[in-house]
């Protein structure tokens, strides 16, 4: 077990926690806003995958990672716009539509990628890193924590911004009202449909950005089905976080670490079979759900379409 305490192991675990955790964080933050507003956004996996595809494609054709992120945001919002139209405007079943959008995005991205690249997987150049002076030079944790892509720090800043907005601005209040009792918000003069639409679009943007980060920074290429359930983990995070962005961050790092344990253990030269290690993140998900899910508190009107004056 000495292998577990080596600098190489700790360093690669931390790196992995961030690289794998950032997409989860973005997805979780996005889903959190939808859920606050009362929309259970199961289509987030599809939004993430479409964001990854479009993000990669934009980055590959413009040769700019940042344009790629923009493409990812656009891709996610495209799927989200469909979800908002069907579930918020027309009040269709959120679960059915969400699953449909995820399956649709999986099929469509695979197909488009195959048309364009056949069976090759072109790589992007490795991305810029924001090397913070002094901090990056710290031993072991330095390069893992402080030598990351600028988007990582933007995502962390977003956690703070959202935490502040949910707590101190009318936005958090209005979102909670839309999720708990949309009729009360409506008769108080709020705009339930508009607010829910915006929340779903925000989810799409965040999920798409997370997907683009996965493709452009994490992997440097696009592979069909590459999100591999990260969006669904985002849903779990949002449900367990009880509306607090900081808890989403914490959860994302834990799940990210679990996901990257495979690499870290291999780096450390552990002789545990890789099959067992690859199972760990999912065991972690189940464990966390067993321990915490009783404490998850979901908005009362989550998943229910709102129709004014319905009898």
């Amino acid at each position: 077990m000495d292998a577990l305490l080596t600098a190489a192991f700790v360093s690669s675990l931390l790196t992995g926690a961030i690289v794998a955790g950032i997409p989860l964080l973005l997805a979780g933050l996005g889903e959190q806003m939808s859920e606050k507003a009362g929309v259970l956004n199961i289509g987030i996996e599809g939004m993430m995958l479409f964001g990854a595809y479009l993000g990669f494609l934009t980055a590959w054709s413009t040769e700019s990672i940042w344009m790629g992120f923009l493409g990812g945001v656009g891709g996610g919002m495209l799927v989200a716009a469909l979800m908002a139209l069907l579930c918020v405007r027309l009040g269709l079943n959120q679960i059915v539509i969400g699953i449909g959008l995820t399956l649709g995005a999986e099929g469509l991205t695979s197909l488009l990628h195959h048309f364009q690249f056949s069976r090759t997987y072109p790589r992007l150049p490795s991305p810029d890193r924001l090397d913070l002076p002094i901090l990056t030079d710290l031993p072991v944790i330095g390069p893992s924590l402080f030598g990351r892509h600028p988007l990582v720090y933007l995502a962390l800043a977003l956690v703070i911004v959202l935490a502040w907005a949910y707590r101190h601005s009318n936005l958090g209040l209005t979102l909670r009202a839309a999720g708990e009792k949309p009729a009360a918000l409506d008769v108080a003069g709020g705009h339930v449909t508009l607010l829910r639409t915006v929340a779903v679009l925000f989810t799409g943007a965040m999920a798409g950005l997370g997907g683009a980060y996965m493709a452009n920074v994490g992997a440097g290429l696009f592979i069909p089905f590459m999100t591999g359930g990260a969006g669904f983990i985002g849903i779990v995070l949002a449900m367990l976080a009880r509306g607090r962005p900081v808890w989403v961050l914490l959860g994302a790092l834990i799940f990210g670490a679990a996901l990257s344990l495979t690499t870290a253990l291999q780096v450390a030269g552990s002789n545990v079979p890789t099959d067992v290690i690859q199972m760990l993140p999912f065991a972690a998900v189940m464990l966390v759900l067993v321990v915490w899910s009783r404490k998850a508190r979901l908005p009362a009107a989550l998943g229910q379409p709102y129709e004014r004056g319905a009898r």
């Binding site: 101190h168 601005s169 009318n170 936005l171 209040l173 209005t174 909670r176 009202a177 708990e180 009792k181 009729a183 009360a184 918000l185 409506d186 008769v187 108080a188 003069g189 709020g190 705009h191 607010l195 009362a300 004014r308 004056g309 009898r311």
Partner: protein
């Protein structure tokens, strides 16, 4: 706060001028005309009572004034000019604020957060301003508004005060209170009445919706009565001021329940000798829920060859009573006795086998499986039992024969016994379910609103059948919200109000008008005046 700065766009109307009105408004919902050609004028400085039973159209009118629903015909007028209220926001902008029957506050937010709800999301709530205004409201109207309490922890009375405070913060011209006293204690109701008076004196138009006559008399300046979606009449302020409470209550009862034209066809009831006691209910109570009234200490006895009617405004515990008797709802205390045998702990199936039958008011959701053929619906309550099942196998031919027999005997109009029951009309489903309940050995039948939603022809046929059942020696418990139906069929009428049986009267066929008035008074929570058993 936007709503404080902007308040409403319209200028405050003068005292006595029309603040808001309905002009020949009609509103339909699938299968029902909720409001039928109603015109109303709500004046500033007046407490205008809208009185009517459940289903009279009061809440639909509130919905239209609050911008939740739009009239199908006619229009709403504001300050005398035609106006459209397409959303709650437009209604608020026109100075109309509504306190709904069900509290429209978010329970998980604090009171302060609920007060600023609906403001633009980028604004920061003006705490100091709200605190100052709330202080004024406390002084002027005695409204208690604990700003930092979690709304869901407060009593319904307190939540209602918060809703009124919210309306006043917005400087409304019209305040609508929909069934505002239904959740209040008598003292709370009196305080509300006092507040409405003070608001009207300040020039607000107050619309107070209720089905309680004494409150209408005590709190109102003007009373408009609605009956089955239509405007039934009005008592103007000077007329009302000149009336004693008793005279006003009689006038209101006349407007609310006054015998309709259809009741002229009322049949003379042949007297049936009543037999032995069949069903006895003593001290029956059920646990209530957040949206549901508990049944409290209900006792009654039904005899063979007798129809005991249960009158009451819908939602006063009738369904709870029926389900507790049928065994579909757990009881907290009390007992149900069938022919001297205590069946309180018995299952639905066992009670049915002993001869207790229940015909639900919810024909489609609870009484039948819409997608199943007629034949299977006729044996829905006997799944697995012989002769329709033997050795665990379904016997389709026996079920089909049974269904054909019921279709013939109860003249159900259906293409065949294989048609899904959901394709049949309400009246035909009702006939089939009645046939199902009457097959086998039945001793007592509980009907819950048996003619609700049927057309005239089916209503007549159903009533005839209920009469035949009693003549055949069975005991009948007939729950109905249609007073004419009870006066026509029942031998005795028990009245339910707020989950209790508040009186039992003999239905004396010789003096229907007196019985009608006495039952009507009990239904709306007035003390009985004679005639009680």
């Amino acid at each position: 706060m936007r709503d404080l700065a902007r308040t409403s766009d319209a200028a405050p109307p003068e005292m006595g001028a029309e603040a808001v009105g309905l002009v020949n408004v009609t509103k339909r919902f699938p299968g029902v005309v909720a409001v039928d050609d109603v015109s109303l004028r709500i004046r500033s400085g007046e407490v205008h009572v809208l009185l009517g039973e459940n289903g009279a159209g009061k809440s639909t009118i509130v919905g239209m004034l609050a911008g939740l629903q739009r009239p199908d015909e006619g229009h709403i007028s504001i300050g005398g000019a035609p106006a459209r209220l397409n959303s709650p926001l437009e209604s608020l902008a026109a100075g109309i604020n509504t306190v709904f029957q069900h509290v429209m506050l978010v329970p998980t937010l604090t009171v302060f957060e609920n007060l600023v709800l609906g403001d633009a999301w980028w604004h920061r709530p003006p705490r100091a301003l709200i605190e100052r205004r709330i202080g004024e409201l406390r002084r002027d109207f005695g409204l208690e508004v604990p700003l930092d309490a979690i709304t869901g922890d407060l009593s319904l009375g307190q939540q209602q005060q918060i809703e009124i405070a919210r309306a006043l913060l917005r400087d409304s011209h019209v305040l609508i209170l929909d069934e505002a006293t239904s959740m209040l204690t008598p003292r709370g109701a009196d305080e509300l009445g006092e507040r409405m008076r003070r608001l009207a004196e300040r020039g607000l138009a107050v619309v107070f919706i209720t089905h309680k006559l004494s409150e209408a008399y005590r709190f109102g300046d003007r009373i408009s009565v609605l009956r089955q979606g239509r405007f039934a009449g009005e008592i103007a302020p000077d007329a009302l001021a000149a009336m004693s409470e008793n005279a006003a209550v009689d006038e209101m009862l006349h407007l609310m329940f006054g015998s309709s034209e259809s009741a002229v066809t009322e049949l003379a009831r042949p007297a049936r000798p009543r037999g032995a006691s069949v069903l006895k209910v003593s001290g029956l109570s059920t646990a209530g829920g957040p949206e549901e009234m508990p049944l409290t200490d209900a006792s009654l006895e039904v005899f063979a060859s007798e129809i005991l009617g249960i009158a009451g405004i819908d939602g006063n515990g009738q369904k709870q009573l029926a389900e507790a008797i049928a065994g579909q709802r757990p009881v907290t205390t009390g007992s149900v006795t069938l022919e001297g045998r205590d069946v309180t702990g018995e299952s639905v199936g066992r009670r049915r086998a002993l001869g207790l039958r229940y015909l639900t008011d919810d024909r489609l959701m609870e009484g039948s499986v819409g997608a199943f053929p007629v034949s299977e619906n006729t044996v829905l309550k006997e799944i697995g039992a012989p002769p329709f099942w033997s050795y665990g196998l379904e016997r389709p031919s026996r079920i089909a024969a049974h269904a054909q027999d019921l279709i013939r005997r109860f003249s159900v109009r259906t293409p065949g016994e294989t048609t899904p029951i959901g394709h049949l009309s309400g009246g035909n489903i009702q006939k089939l379910l009645l046939g199902r309940e009457l097959s086998g050995l039945s001793k007592v039948v509980v009907f819950n609103k048996p003619t609700y939603g049927l057309d005239m022809q089916n209503i007549t046929a159903s009533r005839q059948r209920i009469r035949e059942i009693a003549e055949g020696g069975m005991a009948v418990l007939l729950i109905s919200t249609d007073l004419d139906e009870l006066l026509e069929l029942a031998d005795r009428i028990a009245v339910m109000d707020r989950g209790r049986i508040c009186g039992v009267l003999a239905n004396d066929a010789a003096r229907p008008a007196e019985v009608r008035t006495a039952v009507g008074r009990l239904m709306v929570g007035e003390a009985p005046s004679g005639a009680a058993e």
